[in-house]
């Protein structure tokens, strides 16, 4: 079974994004970048499937400018067998990404595609579902457990009311939630080995997908600042202030 793992290069999750002073976008110059945390979990899950003998090959794919090869190398160091870089400098929407990934799926015919549930920059939470629709596959989103059994995959999903389990016919699309696994760290020997693993580059323009923007970014602003709060000395003072000043309890 082949597993395809789409990964995205994003701002490191520990870094607080800053808005540019001209309000055109978020300022990403000189900001630490990393593999999207949910994608890291996706890579880990795929590698575990390979270690368990369920998967035969793990392919990482990333769409973006040259810099995202850094994250593809990370994925290779974590255990992916080969990487595909779909190169473009364009700012793409989830729909475009899903269409490009659908082309890769057509070429590579993976039984399972594991994506992150959400990019922590756009907070879109769309690509996996869109890819599933475009490739007419079943989807198991927000997975906290994935069990492959024969030609099916059982996915336990983190939903608002608890945990839902669905059974999907393969080929299928899964998106990861945080609790699915705890990703390993890449060891130095594996980082060295990753440098020799294959990384193919394909120009996004060559895949015959319409990449014209459908959404225009009008402006980006700082969220409303909370006005400074006060420190209280005791529970008594706190309760008093909540009653008489904030008037949120009676």
């Amino acid at each position: 079974m082949k597993v395809l793992v789409p990964i995205k290069r994003v701002i490191d999750y520990n870094v607080k994004a800053r808005v540019k002073s001209d309000n055109s976008d978020v300022d990403l110059s000189n900001v630490k970048m990393a593999i999207n945390p949910f994608c890291e979990i996706a890579v880990e899950e795929a590698v575990r499937l390979k270690e368990a003998g369920t998967a035969t090959e793990v392919i990482a794919v990333s769409i973006g400018d040259k810099a995202c090869q850094e994250q593809l190398r990370t994925a290779l160091a974590l255990g992916a067998d080969k990487a595909i870089h779909i190169e473009t400098d364009a700012k793409l929407e989830s729909l475009h990404i899903a269409k490009l990934l659908a082309k890769v799926v057509e070429q590579e015919t993976p039984e399972l595609v594991i994506l992150g549930k959400q990019s922590i920059d756009s907070d879109n939470n769309q690509t996996g579902q869109m890819l599933a629709a475009l490739t007419k596959r079943a989807q198991g989103t927000f997975a906290s457990k994935v069990v492959v059994e024969g030609d099916k995959v059982q996915v336990t999903r983190e939903v608002d009311g608890g945990l839902q389990t669905v059974s999907l016919s393969l080929p299928a699309v899964v998106t990861t939630d945080l609790r699915l696994n705890e990703p390993r760290y890449a060891s130095l020997p594996n980082i060295m080995k990753a440098k020799r693993k294959p990384l193919d580059v394909i120009a996004a323009d060559s895949l015959g997908v319409d990449l014209a923007p459908r959404i225009e970014l009008v402006k980006v602003e700082e969220p409303a600042k909370r006005s400074g709060g006060v420190m209280v000395e005791s529970i008594e003072e706190l309760v008093n202030k909540l009653k008489t000043e904030a008037k949120v309890i009676s």
Binding site: Y13, K16, A17, R18, V19, V26, E93, S94, L95, I120, D121, D123, N124, N125, Q126, T127, Q129, M130, L131, A132, A133, Q139, T141, F142, Q154, R157, V159, D160, G162, L163, Q164, T165, V166, S167, L168, L178, R179, I215, E216, L217, V218, K219, V220, E221, E222, P223, R226, G229, V230, M231, V232, E233, I235, E236, L238, V239, K241, L242, V248, I249
Partner: protein, 308 residues
């Protein structure tokens, strides 16, 4: 312009999110239809008809839609879609699961988790865990949107509008429901509660979450948690508040033993009043708190319960 709102319901009971999504729809157009798809949904359909501003309810009651699987529900929505300029879902796990599938089938770019409607094409939405608010304009002829409920006030009720029963069955060939482990709770739902009290890693274990019960009882509060508390297995995942959990904006949010990571703040910083109880005076949570108390939670919580 006309809006199709996909009702949010569970076990045939309409969820309060639906009236919030209708509130967003009202800012787009006055022609609003609600789709209730599921099984044994008569009550949810009746309640939908009573949401102010709704002109028509389409009820599709069929066993094939019982679990609102994305694969077949998206096909149903696509069949109805051509009559509408906007298709709105709640940004719940159900909405997030289905909406992008609908958008892709319609070849439209989705706009996720809007918090404001500027005009029929232009919306505000948080990005980067709420550290930036983007204004985006859709260039598509038809918009597929998810709505962040906490950003909209539920609309009032009205005398019921017409309900059109539509008989339709679409069984998914590729996906099957197996089971649901539902978290039972007598408390109000996190996203609907006027008061939320959340515990973090500082609670140390699941048993200690009981310290929040008495306070929650007195305040009619829902109980939430940080991701660290969920990861450590103190409480179930559906209690998680944050960027990747539930987004809440109650009148009062009390954070106990929570440091205030970016991802947690993303889920609660639009609360009207924030209280933080933490033993570390440097904890970032104090930067967003209206009232901060530096204290050991094991002293503070029993005292708070007493004082209420």
């Amino acid at each position: 312009m006309s809006v199709l709102v996909i009702a949010e319901h569970e076990n045939g009971v309409l969820k309060p999110e639906t009236a919030k999504v209708v509130a967003a729809a009202t800012k787009i157009a006055s022609d609003i239809t609600v789709l209730v798809a599921g099984h044994n949904i008569a009550e949810a359909a009746n309640h939908s008809a009573q949401i102010a501003g709704v002109q028509k309810v389409v009820a599709v009651d069929d066993a094939s839609f019982e679990h609102q699987l994305a694969e077949n529900t998206s096909e149903l929505v696509v069949e109805l879609a051509s009559d509408f300029s906007h298709i709105l879902f709640s940004a719940s796990t159900t909405g997030k699961n289905i909406a992008p599938r609908v958008a892709a089938l319609l070849d439209k770019s989705q706009i996720s988790e809007i918090i404001d409607v500027i005009d029929a094409d232009t919306f505000k939405r948080p990005v980067y865990a709420g550290n930036a608010i983007a204004t985006v304009k859709s260039l598509d002829s038809q918009k597929v949107i998810t709505v962040r409920g906490s950003a909209f006030d539920a609309v009032e009720t009205q005398a019921a509008c017409d309900i059109e029963d539509r008989s339709q069955s679409i069984a998914s060939q590729v996906s099957e429901f197996v089971s649901i482990e539902q978290t039972e709770s007598e408390r109000p739902e996190l996203t609907a509660a006027p008061v939320v009290i959340s515990g973090g890693r500082g609670m140390q274990n699941g048993e200690n979450f009981a310290l929040l019960n008495g306070i929650a009882d007195k305040l009619g509060a829902a109980i939430g948690a940080s991701r660290a508390a969920v990861d450590a297995g103190f409480v179930p995942n559906d209690m998680q508040v944050g960027q990747t959990g539930k987004i809440v904006a109650p009148n009062l949010y009390i954070a106990v033993g929570i440091s205030g990571a970016i991802q947690h703040l993303a889920g609660m910083k639009d609360s009207k009043v924030i209280v933080a109880i933490n033993k570390d005076p440097e904890a970032p949570i104090f930067q967003v708190a209206d009232y901060g108390l530096v204290a050991d939670l094991f002293d503070a919580l029993p005292e708070l319960e007493q004082a209420l």
